[in-house]
Amino acid sequence: MFPLLSAIIFLPVLGAVLIALTPRARVTLIRALAFVFSGAALALALALFAGFSRNVATPQYVERAAWIPQLGISYFLGVDGLSLPFIVLTAMLTFLAVIASWHIELRPKEYFALMLVLETGVLGVFSSLDFLLFFLFWEVELIPMYLLIGTWGGPRREYAAIKFVIYTLAGSALMLVGILTLYFFGSAHTFDMLALRQQGIDPVVATFAFFLVFFGFAVKLPSFPFHTWLPDAHVEAPTAVSVLLAGVLLKMGGYGMLRVNVGMMPDVLAANAPFIGALAVVSILYGAAVSTVQHDLKSLVAYSSVSHMGYVLLGIAALTPGSLGGAAVQMFTHGLITGLLFLLVGVVYERTHTRIIASMGGLAPRMPLIATIFVIAGLASLGLPATAGFIGEFAVFVGAYPSLPWLTIVAIFGVVATAGYILWMLQRVFFGPPNPRWAALTDANRWFEVAPLVTLAALVLVVGIVPSLLTDIIQASVPGLASSPLLTAAR
């Protein structure tokens, strides 16, 4: 059988190698290579999407090869309903990010190569079914991100990049301890994620491992109070990198929680659900409140991510089939919406050369297309029905309410707060009397600006109107995640 997953994962890195071999001066060729290889990965991911059996819960397209058999480590890939959406999302956002980076002038060779390497890392995380392989890809993604932020970022890029890397590394270091705890203290002695789901482990040890791993994912998610790297990283990162950071990298945290904390230790999660749910609710409201008073457009969107990923955490904490599915949907839709928002912030910044909200205003007549899409994205972000944002939030609420009613009710206040800061931001940036300072600005008028914006906006609407495209896949595996034999035995 054709190793479709391996092909998807390693095509980008192949492209990166080719780019690395291309002479520095041939910028067009470099762009074309990045375009072709990320596009090829996307095409294969869509093929995967098309070929995926919707009614099978177990991983498909499995590839398995012994790697370090002495330690039970293998090269083990597969997609199930949880990972497929994120593979597609990653491939798509990277492709769009490549397009949106078309005009990068500074070291385009390194830029595109790193972006493709990043894609490989992230795709690997979403496809790995071996815990060590998972961890490996988890770490692989860090370095290109560090360089992308640290080289192409804003004025405080080094600070932001180092903070990002060290924070994530701190998380992943603890996560590694957790992984090893699961390996050594479990009954299975394997890194096979599917086998780890079945294994027996001492509850105290499991709790220990749970929180170690949880911390690693919570940093990535990010959940309050581990979120402060995010605004810094976003504010400093270049547009396309922000898109990937918010659209894809954060999802690794939620994905990991679903895969590991829910999939392997649901009983521990159930025991600590109120605590984690409270963390989620704090994230939601705190993120929204802090968002409201941001002066920088980008950090506003960044904090909104904290808030939105709080819904994911809430869905996970609630641990009902519906809420888990909702969490997965919310992650996917947040990827689309926040990706779109960062792209928009990017094109606005391209024109105004400022991101300070107070200095904008009345931009809408100057850039109607950007404004229109910004409004669509904003409405989606605040969870308007018929946009993607609604599906995830609503599903999380529906799923979480029976399990954590009070926390859910408090969390719903986040919806209003979100509406508050999004609309206020729109009002201050786009509405109001036209500012003569911006009289000479143009609308998004270059293909590499328009294409990603329109694509993502269309997707936001399509997913909102026909969510079954997404939910059919998630439904295949995600709701069953919590039903490990262990959990049933514990209850």
Binding site: F224, A289, V293, Q294, P385, A386, G420, L426, P433, P479
Partner: protein, 679 residues
């Protein structure tokens, strides 16, 4: 029948999609919208008559009328299947009729009113979106879909209020409207979640069945229904979430007529009506509905007394009338509430459109600057008067019958306080509408016709709309070609010639036919719609319920008529005959007047809550985030750096030192391990 319903629902979407994707010429977008909504209207009529037949058949068979339902699965997640579809029963059929009729007329009217606006196409796209959302709401078979379209009408309202987004007030009002209603939706959402958590369904009929078999009830149901009612409070601008509606008048007047008077704001009422069987099973919730409705009716009417903006007067009147409807529903009279909704839709739309005509013709909306317009715009004056009288409850106009039915129901409920509030409201309503009419149409012109100041670099484009000056950049007057200002809408050319710069009052003129005709059309139901619900021969109630309503109470009719008459008289004496000095009244009731003008300080309170308290807390949290949370992170980094700096001293650069340390470590560790392992 289901296909008819689907067509009703989907036609506006088609027009929305066509306008958005094809970007036709502005006037074609208007025509497209009218065509689509006209289609919806026709099918609504068809559906109505079909429903009528069914209903008669059901009555003949002594059965409850069976609703028409058509469902499609939407998506599935966890154990929940989310479905959408259409449902039609008599309630929905009436509402469809109201929505499509008023919509159609308002769209036609808009062709004149919005002519030449640069956002003409956008306007009609939004209008299509709104119509679609409203129809979806009306046809919703379950709470989920209700909520979805609930939000969608909210966003349509947001978009349309903020249509002239370059006006800071409009942008502000739009945001305020959305967020305020969303606050109510929050309760709505929690209510839905509660219901779902206890029954596992969103479907109205399954919920009713659950109530019937006793699976749902008691405190749970009451709580849930009160929460659901919160949604209605927000959307129907009931106290305490009414503050957005007057501000919403920043939108174009047809929008105010359609959305913020006739249809969308009635969605709250419709929601309560739709969930009425559930409310009936939760008397506490119903009581809350009645009290909130009654209080809002009175409360809003008081503010209507002192408003100077013609649209605001109407807005408060809307709030007040919505309170009536809620009151009616709250006391258990579904048909009374709905009937008032039905008549109110017509006469309030009429009033708004007439007010729009005034604004359009006189380019002024401050009552104290208007005056004497009946000579310049007789049709407008006439239709406004008809609407006003209907609102005031003068028999035999439509408003009289419906309001009377509500009051009768309140009377039957035996709650004296609510009845008193209702009657007082009737008096005040008559007074303020008389005041508004007299100030606008009687007397002499008091205002100027100066154009509002403009920001530098922008030229005023000659346009009939006074509230939304069109702004295009100086160097490129046509912008991206969105609705070129030179493109006149059908029939709107007439009488624009000297629309500005003339002597005071002289420029005022009657609106074009495309605007006047809808007024006249709307005037008809404003007069006669009440005959559908005559006490004793209540066709409306029987259509809704399949049974007769209770008879009228003479005393209620009498007192309401008398009070309305008194109100009109007082208004005439004050503002028409000047027998009573308005200033004197103001002076006499100075504290109250001030309170009313300041809207009881509620806006200020909310403003303080949001702008000071919430933003203050947010600022504090942002500070906390920067200094404490991030500070801790940086502290850890700083500590690590300090430790590193300290440990650096051991880095002598001397390899032997390092090697010594390594081997010393080896020795120590080896021995420790040996001791620990006991080997």
């Amino acid at each position: 029948m289901p296909s008819t319903l689907w067509l009703i629902l989907l036609l506006p979407v088609v027009s929305l999609a066509l306008i958005t994707l094809l970007r036709p010429a502005p006037r074609w977008s208007g025509r497209l919208t009218i065509l689509a909504i006209g289609g919806s209207f026709v099918f609504s009529v068809v559906a109505f008559f079909e429903m009528l037949t069914r209903q008669q058949a059901a009555v003949a068979a002594h059965q409850e009328v069976e609703p028409v339902v058509s469902m499609v699965p939407w998506f599935q997640l966890g154990k929940t299947s989310f479905e959408v579809g259409v449902l039609a029963d008599p309630l929905a059929a009436i509402m469809l009729l109201v929505v499509t009729t008023v919509s159609l007329l308002v769209q036609v009217y808009s062709q004149g009113y919005m002519a030449g606006d640069p956002g003409y196409r956008r306007y009609f796209a939004f209008m299509s979106l709104f119509t679609f959302s409203m129809l979806g709401l009306v046809l919703a078979p379950n709470f989920l879909q209700m909520f979805i379209f609930w939000e969608l009408v909210g966003v349509s309202s947001y978009l349309l209020i903020g249509f002239w987004y370059h006006k800071p007030e409009a942008a502000y009002a739009a945001k305020k409207a959305f967020i305020t209603t969303r606050l109510g939706d929050l309760g709505f959402l929690v209510g839905i979640l509660m219901l779902y958590a206890y029954t596992g369904t969103f479907d109205f009929h399954q919920l009713q069945a659950a109530v019937k078999v006793g699976a749902l009830g008691g405190a749970v149901l009451s709580t849930a229904m009160v929460l659901v009612f919160m949604g209605a409070v927000g959307k129907s601008a009931q106290f305490p979430l009414h503050v957005w509606l007057p501000d919403a008048m920043e939108g174009p007047t047809p929008v105010s007529a359609l959305i913020h008077a006739a249809t969308m704001v009635a969605a709250g009422v419709y929601l309560v009506a739709r969930a009425f069987p559930l409310f009936q099973a939760a008397p506490t919730a119903l009581m809350v509905v009645a009290v909130v409705g009654g209080f809002t009716a009175f409360f809003a009417a008081t503010m209507g007394l002192v408003m100077s903006d013609i649209k605001r007067v109407l807005a408060y009147s809307t709030v007040s009338q919505l309170g009536y409807m809620m009151l009616g529903l709250g006391v258990g009279a579904l048909s009374a509430g709905m009937f008032h909704l039905f008549t109110h839709a017509f006469f309030k739309a009429l009033l708004f459109l007439a007010a729009g005509s005034v604004i359009h013709g006189a380019m002024e909306q401050d009552l104290f600057k208007l005056g004497g317009l009946r000579r310049h715009m007789p049709w407008t004056a006439l239709t406004f008067a008809i609407g006003g009288l209907s609102l005031a409850g003068v028999p035999p106009l439509a408003g009289f019958w419906s309001k009377d039915e509500v009051l009768t129901a309140v009377y039957h409920s035996g709650n004296g306080l609510l009845l008193a509030l209702g009657l007082l409201t009737a008096f005040m309503t008559a007074f303020y509408i008389t005041r508004a009419w007299l100030l606008a149409f009687a007397g002499e012109w008091r205002g100027a016709a100066a154009a509002p100041p403009l920001p530098p670099g922008y030229a005023l484009t000659p346009r009939p709309s006074p509230t939304g000056y069109a702004l295009t950049p100086g160097p490129t007057p046509t912008g991206r070609g969105v609705g070129g200002e030179g493109v006149p809408a059908a029939g709107s050319e007439a009488g624009h010639g000297g629309s500005h710069g003339g002597s005071p009052g002289a420029h005022a003129h009657e609106s074009p036919a495309v605007m006047v005709v809808p007024l006249l059309i709307l005037a008809v139901p404003s007069v006669v719609a009440g005959f559908l619900g005559l006490p004793g021969a209540n066709w409306f109630g029987s259509f809704l319920h399949g049974e007769e309503e209770s008879a009228a109470e003479g005393i209620v009719i009498a007192s309401s008529v008398v009070l309305a008459g008194l109100g009109i008289l007082l208004g005439y004496l004050t503002y028409g005959a000047r027998a009573i000095s308005a200033e004197g009244l103001t002076a006499a009731f100075r504290p109250i007047h001030a309170l009313l003008v300041n809207k009881y300080g509620l806006d200020d309170l909310y403003g303080w809550l949001v702008n000071r308290l919430y933003v203050g807390i947010s600022l504090a949290l942002a500070w906390f985030d920067q200094r404490i949370v991030d500070g801790l992170v940086n502290l850890v980094a700083w500590l690590a750096a300090q430790v590193g700096r300290g440990v650096t001293r051991t880095a002598t650069g001397q390899l032997p030192n390092y090697a010594l340390a390594v081997f010393a470590g080896v020795v120590v560790i080896a021995n420790v391990v040996a001791v620990v392992a006991g080997r």
